[in-house]
């Protein structure tokens, strides 16, 4: 059906294009004049020529198209809306469906499609633009390729043109056609980069280097013009390559590329920023900062980008990596303000215009609002400000939905909003919850013990509505896990015969993480561990022990775990097992002697060369961006031992519980976590050591009871009992 329709369309096209009148010599002259005016950037005169031409050829779509282009240039790219309207009119005339790149059948229409892609690029509809260009490239590519080069001098339509001038126009024409191929290639590469597909971009750059941009060389020395063009493109290609390599984080090749860039155009702002980015990625933050500072920050680049925004944003990134989070947040905030100001300025200029028009084409997509929100959110999270971070990231995630790490960060915000850090249990305010108060007096005085620190307050409404709750965190983590490629552990059910392919394939896959660089295999693995740990934790908080156990088991199966993750995996698993009445298993897991490592990063297995490449001062900055407790092994062991005491207590083994609790309390560090007081009181009271409990209460929570225990009383069993006093 579709095929038929397409056929009919094109048939119709042939029929309507036939009545298109023959091009007369004078019209041809007009057209070539218009083009040369256009080339000379004399858009005014070009426009008037085009007006004359369109009066003579009102049905020619190409004339209409070029008229629109000339007018758009004449307006200084301010009339985007109008241009789009004109473009769609041209499409109607040429019987082209611009929204369906599949309908592209004729190279004659390639310019229309290209221009549509350019507009889409500036509107930041990268996927749509990419669809068009991918298709367009197939048609346009043979035109620019070197095969054609040899036919350079055999011009096409010489039948009726004998004028010397025509020859120039024709050969120039072919040159122009190649220029379109080059432009399209460039835009294609750019779009691949915009959609974070550095491998595809790199492939395209390599391919283009071989074919599209070497046309002149194959054609021989006879046309100097070509060679010059080729030279002119070279630095641009080099820039693209560097960007690809940076995105792929292949530092070695990148270093080479940057070196050659620096040797030729060291003053180019783009080059300096790339170099700074490179140093930043290598961990040479001071150098990166210096590079950034060396550029004079004019407000806007030619491409309409706001330099102060970039400058501040990048400074923020650097400070983030130096763990100077508040300074980082300051710079991001500044970048944010600059961005707002820039947009405001443009809007003010455009107030009298409608919609898109009034801004130059370049500045339509200038705002970096969501990238900045993303950076800001992550930075705030590391400042320990969970709620503001949540607000930033929840907005950013609507744009960067395919970023699994962003979903994890959102979940981390929720976790932090409900538990600021692990030392929270030691705060006075938490300890005061152990005994909530007293009621009555005299014989009727009662102490009210707290129900514990666990809070089971189900969030109101559905978890699908973003709020900093554990329910929403669970949803985020589910998304994050789904966005990762399948776990090689579960996928590897196929017998691993050819170990080569198994090893290679995960290396090849880059997982997109917009707006950051895509994730490499190692990063994916570590991300997966973090997601699993967070998932297990959140499942415990939601009392979903089966799921918690599943996640914890999955976490412990991962091949590369940090010490802290293994430790947490054991704790989570044990807690879930206790809840599911597998206490014996839990008690084994909680053996404090098993805790041998709680480092937050994987042991460095970098090669010597890698280390030597780095600045000595920079190397220590990797790793801890945010403090985590327990900080030392002793405390970590003590916490495991406390949990062990809890497990024993639940099983009714109060002696063992008491013993472990005692040992743990001497090592866990002061102030003691509130849970320890709970357990101490629990053990005393459940076994009827009321006096012992009273001592603890009087010592630590003296404000709730006036009743001091005389230590002598301990040996005297004859404490008057309330019930004997009655009656």
């Amino acid at each position: 059906m579709a095929d038929n329709k397409a056929k009919n369309d094109s048939d119709a096209e042939m029929e309507t294009s036939m009545p298109l009148p023959q091009v007369t010599e004078s019209q041809k002259e007009l057209a070539s004049q218009a083009m040369s005016e256009f080339d000379k950037k004399q858009y005014g005169s070009c426009c008037s020529l085009m007006h004359k031409l369109i009066a003579q050829r009102p049905t020619d779509p190409k004339v209409a198209h070029n008229k629109a282009v000339a007018e758009f240039f004449q307006s200084g790219f301010l009339t985007t809306d109008e241009f789009r309207q004109q473009l769609s009119k041209v499409c109607q005339m040429a019987h082209v469906n611009i929204d369906n790149s599949e309908s592209l059948e004729d190279v004659d229409h390639s310019v229309i499609y290209f221009n549509q892609a350019v507009i889409l690029y500036h509107l930041r509809q990268y996927k749509a633009a990419l669809n068009i260009l991918d298709k367009l490239f197939q048609y346009i590519e043979p035109l620019g390729s070197s095969i054609v080069g040899t036919y350079r001098l055999s011009f096409r339509y010489t039948v009726e043109s004998s004028v010397r001038d025509r020859k120039y126009v024709d050969s120039n024409n072919e040159f122009q056609e190649e220029a379109l191929a080059k432009k399209a290639t460039m835009l294609l590469v750019e779009l691949y980069l915009c959609t974070y597909q550095p491998e595809k971009a790199m492939g395209m750059v390599h391919y283009a280097e071989k074919t599209v941009f070497t046309a002149g060389k194959n054609a021989g020395e006879k046309e100097n013009k070509e060679d010059q063009v080729d030279e002119a493109w070279k630095p641009k290609i080099s820039l693209y390559k560097t960007r690809c390599l940076l995105m792929m984080k292949s530092m070695k090749s990148c270093k080479r590329e940057i070196k050659s860039l620096m040797s030729t155009q060291a003053m180019n702002t783009a080059v300096i920023y790339l170099k700074s980015n490179f140093e930043h990625l290598r961990g040479n933050h001071k150098k990166a900062m210096k590079m950034l500072g060396s550029v004079s920050t004019s407000d806007f680049t030619e491409a309409g980008e706001c330099m102060p925004v970039m400058y501040n944003n990048n400074l923020g990134c650097i400070h983030f990596h130096l763990s100077k989070h508040h300074l980082g947040a300051f710079h991001f905030r500044k970048a944010f303000q600059e961005n707002e100001n820039a947009i405001k300025d443009i809007k003010r200029g455009a107030e009298h215009n409608k919609n898109l028009s009034g801004k130059t084409l370049n500045s339509i997509g200038m705002s970096r609002h969501f990238e900045l929100l993303y950076n800001m959110g992550i930075q705030l999270l590391h400042c320990g400000k969970a709620m503001p971070a949540f607000d930033c990231l929840v907005e950013a995630v609507q744009v960067f939905r395919s970023n699994p790490r962003l979903w994890l960060r959102l979940a981390e915000c929720c976790i932090m909003a409900n538990r600021q850090n692990n030392d929270e249990d030691r705060k006075l305010e938490k300890r005061l919850e152990v005994i909530q108060g007293s009621d009555g007096s005299g014989i009727h005085r009662k102490l009210r013990l707290g129900p514990g620190l666990k809070k089971d307050n189900p969030s109101p409404g559905t978890p699908a509505i973003p709020a900093a709750t554990h329910e929403f965190a669970a949803l985020c983590l589910k998304n994050a896990l789904h966005l990762l490629p399948e776990d090689p552990l579960t996928a590897e059910k196929v017998p691993i015969e050819d170990s080569d392919t198994v090893k290679i394939t995960p290396e090849m896959v880059l997982v997109p993480a917009p707006p950051g660089n895509p994730l490499k295999a190692a990063e994916v693995a570590s991300l997966r561990c973090s997601i699993l740990a967070a998932s297990a934790y959140v499942a415990l908080c939601l009392n979903d022990y089966t799921l918690a156990l599943l996640h914890a088991e999955n976490l412990l199966k991962q091949p590369k775990l940090t010490g802290a993750q293994r430790y947490l995996g054991h704790l989570y698993m044990a807690e879930a097992q206790v809840a599911m009445d597998k206490i014996a298993d839990a008690i084994q897991l909680l053996n404090p002697e098993l805790v041998v490592d709680i480092s937050l990063t994987l042991p460095e297995n970098k090669t010597e060369q890698d280390k030597s490449e780095r600045d000595p001062e920079a190397s220590e900055s990797k790793g801890y961006f945010y403090p985590w407790s327990p900080k030392d092994l002793t405390r970590a062991k003590a916490i495991a031992q406390y949990d062990l005491a809890t497990a024993h207590a639940i099983r009714g083994e109060y002696d063992k519980a008491g013993q472990n609790l005692g040992e743990s309390s001497s090592r866990i560090g002061t102030p003691l976590p509130a849970q320890m007081y709970f357990l101490k009181l629990y053990l005393d009271l459940i076994e009827g050591r009321r006096n012992m409990a009273q001592v603890v209460i009087k010592d630590h929570f003296g404000h709730v009871t006036p009743n001091r225990v005389e230590m002598k009383m301990n040996s005297k069993p004859g404490v008057p009992r309330p019930d004997t006093a009655v009656s």
Binding site: K7, V118, I147, Q176, H280, E412, K446, A533, Y572, V719
Partner: protein, 454 residues
């Protein structure tokens, strides 16, 4: 879960010292049911248990007994093992022993022991209640002399409960009431001087209210051992934030350079091509088309030929199709054209095109194999006998030409073609092809050594 103040007042009126001393169990039950419906029973029961645990809150034995009776009464219609407070009965009948030597004096969570008479009453209640029992008052029961009477057996209930409890996780059984008596050892106000341990009804009432009513009343809570649950550390990523680099490119719209230059030739060619898709061109037209294509190598990309349209062109103008395909060989879309060609309906024309192509350029062998398989399967599936014979002849001639011209290696398709020849051995050309295959096959082993010696 907590009671309202009004509900509490009703409950306390049923459990008051006066009422419990004078009224029979029957009338206690009646007044209880007057105040409470089935839905209230559990929360009332929980409150009663809390009162029982605190000796000072239900000080009189008749109150205690009445309270225990109410726990029974609420769920009397259900089997006793289904009573949510059945464990309380078992607990009362088997009180935990307080081991004073181990420093244990006071189990605040235990319900104080009851007298033998009360025990007798309770065990009868849960094993085999009689109507007469309910006619008595709690006072009468307490005064009963039960030393000579036989105890009722409640082991059945105990067993049933133990079984049910064993199914529950230990954690759910580990909780402890969070109300702990903390009797003042010294008088806290002037009123209390000289009256240690005397019940003050006002204070008692206040205490009960604060324990049983209001938001988050202690009766709702319990305390159990709790893990220290460590939150995981923030994920550490080395390259997470979005670094911004200026884009040093200007992507702007392009001028269509082909405006008005696509001369009559271009238009004419396109017109001819669109004709060529629909029907055969005249010789003259064909020649014109081919001449124009000859003049400009790029023109072939402008004539509007897409892979989808190729079959039409092949059927109507095979010669043009060959010429065009040869010119498209350099295009990166050529494989798409090929795959369309291979999969199109088999015909004399398509075969001619493929045949000519094979002689003119080197085609990928998998393409040719695919085409041959396609031809063979078409011959096998066709129904029309006459057409079949015609097609088989065509295929045979085509294959012979391929083999003679050494375009394909016979070995690759030997089995498939042999089967084809045998199936259609009635046709002369098939038999011929079969002989050719055989001769090649037998010649082959001799050929190879000669080739090797060369």
């Amino acid at each position: 879960m907590a009671l309202s103040v009004k509900e509490l007042a009703s409950l306390l009126s049923v459990l008051s010292e006066d009422t419990t001393q004078t009224q029979s169990f029957e009338s206690l039950a009646t007044s209880f049911h007057h105040y409470f419906t089935k839905q209230d029973h559990f929360k009332v029961g929980s409150s009663i248990v809390l009162l029982l645990q605190n000796r000072d809150l239900l000080p009189h034995p008749t109150q205690k007994l009445a309270a225990i009776f109410l726990l029974y009464e609420m769920y009397r219609t259900d089997p006793i093992a289904a009573n949510p407070f059945a464990t309380v009965f078992v607990h009362i009948l088997n009180p935990p022993t307080e081991n004073q030597e181990a420093g244990q004096f006071d189990l605040h969570w235990a319900i104080p022991a009851i007298s033998p008479a009360e025990r007798y009453f309770l065990s009868q209640l849960i094993s085999s209640p009689t109507k007469e029992m309910f006619k008595k008052t709690p006072t009468q029961i307490i005064q009963l002399d039960v030393s000579s009477m036989q105890n009722f057996d409640v082991s059945g209930l105990q067993l049933a409960l133990a079984e049910r409890q064993s199914e529950m996780p230990a954690q759910s059984k580990s909780a402890m009431p969070c109300v702990v008596p903390d009797r003042d050892t010294k008088p806290s106000s002037f009123d209390h001087f000289g009256k240690p341990g005397v019940i003050n009804p006002d204070v008692q009432r206040q205490t009960i209210e604060s324990l049983l009513t209001g938001n988050k009343a202690p009766v709702e809570n319990c305390m159990m051992p709790e893990f220290i649950r460590l939150a995981p550390p923030l994920h550490i990523a080395e390259d997470e934030l979005c670094w911004m680099n200026p884009v040093d490119m200007d992507y702007s719209v392009a001028w269509d350079t082909t405006m008005c230059v696509s001369s009559s030739a271009g238009v004419e060619i396109r017109r001819l091509m669109s004709k060529a898709f629909k029907g055969a061109l005249t010789l003259q037209q064909q020649q014109q088309l081919l001449d124009e294509l000859e003049k400009d190598n790029k023109l072939v990309y402008h004539i509007g030929l897409t892979p989808a349209k190729l079959p039409d062109l092949v059927e109507n103008n095979p010669l043009v199709a060959i010429e065009v395909l040869l010119r498209l060989m350099q295009s990166n879309q050529i494989t798409e054209y090929f795959s369309v060609l291979v999969n199109m309906e088999m015909s004399l024309h398509s075969m001619e095109v493929v045949n000519r192509l094979t002689t003119a350029v080197e085609l990928p062998s998998e393409f040719i194999h695919l085409y041959i398989s396609n031809c063979i399967s078409t011959c096998e599936t066709i129904r029309d006998r006459y057409l079949q014979n015609r097609l088989v002849r065509l295929v045979c001639v085509f294959l012979q030409s391929l083999i003679r011209n050494k375009i394909i290696d016979v070995k690759d398709i030997f089995i498939e073609v042999q089967a084809f020849c045998i199936e259609f051995s009635r046709i002369r050309e098939a038999a011929g092809l079969f002989r050719l295959l055989k001769s090649l096959d037998s010649a082959d082993p001799q050929n190879t050594p000669t080739a090797a010696t060369r």
